[in-house]
Amino acid sequence: MNFELTQERRMMQDALRRYLANTITTATREAAEASPTGFSDRIWEGLAELGVIGALFTEDQGGYGGSGFDLATVFEEIGRAGAVEPLLDTGVLAGGLLGALGGDAAAQTLEAVIAGTHQLALAHTEPANRYALDRVSLTAEKTAGGYCLEGRKSVVVNASAAHDLLVTARTSGQVSDSAGISVFRVAADAPGLEIRDYPLSGGGRGAELTLTRVEVADAALLGVEGEAHAALVHAHARATLAICAEALGLMDRIRVLTTDYLQTRKQFGKPIGKFQALQHRMADVLVEIEQARSAVINLAGNLDGPSALRDLHVAATKNLISRVGKLVAEESIQLHGGIGMTMEYDLGHLAKRLTMVDHRFGDGIHHLDRFIRLAVA
């Protein structure tokens, strides 16, 4: 047993923490939110220069990391800083899927992704399909020399910035079959692709996509036709680890902020942190955050193991993070009083971002269902 980070990861952690702490301010975050992409180009470049994007990819893919603990280390820092840059979408979710399915043809794109000059987004979620990974109704029909895509995608995070979108489509079977799902790479400016974009709660941007007879070449198909499901599940497992680690960083930062506030805010002639009622509430918050940390470690350690074990930990960790995230966001707002309700104080942003974690890759109930199917039933 060893719960220490390796030397390399510790260095990455320190460098990233320092960089983000020195760079992100309320003003930079507000500027990022007002920008067309929802994030800061400068911080994105900074992340690339630090090698943070490369740390999300394996050596085969041109990176120098890509394991569970690499992701956990990076994303905990992203969370701690409340950063809104699309490392999750470009780096882990779409980038990871491209790395897994794209073969040699994807090498150049991945190189550009790691260098920070290329953005990606995964378009999988559909209006009525919630968090299911096997439900796809957008269709891709074979044409001479390519495919024709038709359908809708919803809440596609980072679509506004993406140069390419990876679109899941049904090439055969019924809406809910896991067989018959394929992934296509579609350029953001492809004719017939309409992107309606909007800001997201907690930062970043999402979009509704309408694909009307979007023609792509055979080369746009990633991997084998109809067999993308396993890779999709794997990419989501990695993304779930990343977002859970981000949530952990957010919680830890929120805990520090709230503890500081309890020590400085005075009512009835003393710091409110002297009231035992509030001390106990914060003690519970700390206990739960440590549970969250262990859950993230469990998932990181099993991410690249057998898929049954991996999926069990995905469900367990995301369910636990859902519960603890809600507790931490709500308690921190409550213990701050009125100031916790404003956007003029960092907590507002952090608590919103933490709350939104529950709405990506499956909420607490979704993963409770999965866990029961995998481990209990």
Binding site: T125, P127, A128, N129, R130, Y131, A132, R135, S154, V155, V157, V175, S176, R196, Y198, P199, L200, S201, G202, G206, E208, K266, Q267, F268, G269, F275, A277, L278, K326, E330, I333, Q334, G337, G338, G340, M341, T342, M343, E344, G348, A351, K352, T355, M356, D358, H359, R360, D363, G364, I365, L368, D369
Partner: protein
């Protein structure tokens, strides 16, 4: 023991329901249903309609233009209002200041201010909290110094709800710095257009400038605007707070919110089935409904103890805690119910004049904003922690 309403109460309910069906503008009801933001004009329009029927301040005694409703009648009225998705009555004049003036105000103040509350001439806001005085309200520092027939007011109020719409503010001010802090507070009525007052909006986590900071810089207020006696303001303030806490349970809001949640869960698809059929989601809904059924009766038990027109005592703290927990759980479940569509955050879409297509289903747009906004329920009106302290002292004797 009889759990039914009396025939007279049932008749009253029918009367209220018929009135709402006839008089509540569909435009306002729709805004309520879809969680859209109400403008100042929307509130004023609805107040005027209620006032015409004599129901804007049904809780007031008849001599002041009210109906002298019992606590149960008020409860029925509020239940029907929320059921119909009517705008809530803005509480500051009607529910807060009115009863204080009726009990402690001078004849001149009553004759001047009460009709203006009813006919909408004045929009009041509540100037209690300060940056340094939240839960510890008695530590207010905003000072009022007597100068001839005026008070000169200096200091700052904060979290002033809808202060941007108000032309009048009732304030707790310090008129004496000696002795116990509670004994040096006065209750002052201040015209917001007086020179020296600045209002700065504060944006909350749902993106809305619902509250404000109000700054006072040598503001001259006629001494005639003092309510009751100098340095007795704490008594009036506490009286007002107990009135603020009637209907604190928000049973009507919870019931309407629960119905809305269920209708969403019937429409949302989860693995090809309605979400409401997911046993874990259904269990969460059932749990909160069970709590609500009991709380509705707790509410009526407390209300029926309180004599007509009187505010309930420390028991209202129980209602505040349980009522806000239930409403916040319903808001959280509603956020969860809309799934990925909880993420888009387009606050313009909740404003008048927005005619873009909704992003996702129309019921999804306000879910997250409402969830965040209603975190306030357990903070204001005396935080839930303060309510627990009241219960442990006043009821348990600890």
């Amino acid at each position: 023991m009889d759990l039914t309403f009396t025939p007279a109460e049932e008749d009253f309910r029918k009367e209220v329901r018929a009135f709402l069906e006839a008089k509540l503008p569909e435009r306002l009801a729709e805004k309520g249903r879809l969680g859209r933001h109400l403008s100042k004009q929307d509130h004023e329009e609805w107040h005027a309609i209620l006032n015409e029927r004599g129901w804007l301040a049904g809780n007031w005694p008849r001599e002041y233009g009210g109906q002298g409703w019992s606590a149960v009648e008020r409860h029925i009225f509020e239940e029907e209002m929320t059921r119909a998705c009517a705008p809530r009555i803005v509480p500051f004049g009607v529910a807060m200041l009115g009863p204080v003036l009726q009990t402690f105000g001078s004849e001149e103040q009553k004759a001047y201010y009460l009709p203006r509350i009813l006919n909408g001439t004045d929009w009041w806001c509540q100037g209690y909290s300060e940056p340094g005085a939240g839960s510890d309200l008695a530590s207010v520092k905003t000072s009022a110094v007597r100068d001839g027939d005026h008070y000169v007011v200096n200091g700052q109020k904060t979290w002033t709800t809808l202060g941007q719409y108000a032309n009048m503010i009732f304030c707790l001010v310090r008129t004496n710095t000696e002795g116990k802090p509670q004994e040096g507070i006065s209750f002052l009525l201040i015209d917001m257009t007086t020179p020296g007052i600045t209002v700065r909006p504060i944006v909350l986590i749902d993106g809305q400038p619902e509250v404000n900071e109000v700054f006072f810089d040598n503001v001259r207020v006629p001494a005639a605007n003092l309510v009751g006696e100098e340095n007795k303001g704490w008594t009036y303030a506490k009286y007002l707070l107990t009135h603020e806490r009637t209907n604190i349970a928000g049973v009507g809001f919870a019931q309407a919110g629960l119905e809305h949640l269920k209708s969403i869960a019937r429409l949302e698809q989860d693995n090809g089935r309605p979400l409401i059929e997911n046993p874990h989601f259904a269990a969460r809904i059932a749990q909160v409904q069970i709590d609500l059924m009991a709380m509705a009766t707790t509410n009526l038990r407390v209300l029926s103890q309180a004599a007509s027109g009187q505010a309930p005592g420390a028991e209202s703290s129980m209602l505040k805690i349980k009522g806000t927990q239930i409403r916040q759980e319903i808001n959280a479940l509603t956020r969860v119910a809309v799934g990925p569509y909880a993420m888009p955050f387009v606050s313009e879409a909740l404003e008048d004049g927005w005619n873009g297509d909704p992003i996702g289903p129309d019921y999804a747009m306000p879910a997250t904003a409402t969830y965040f906004n209603n975190r306030k329920l357990s903070i204001y009106g005396g935080s839930n922690e303060i309510q627990r302290t009241i219960i442990s002292k006043a009821i348990l004797g600890l």
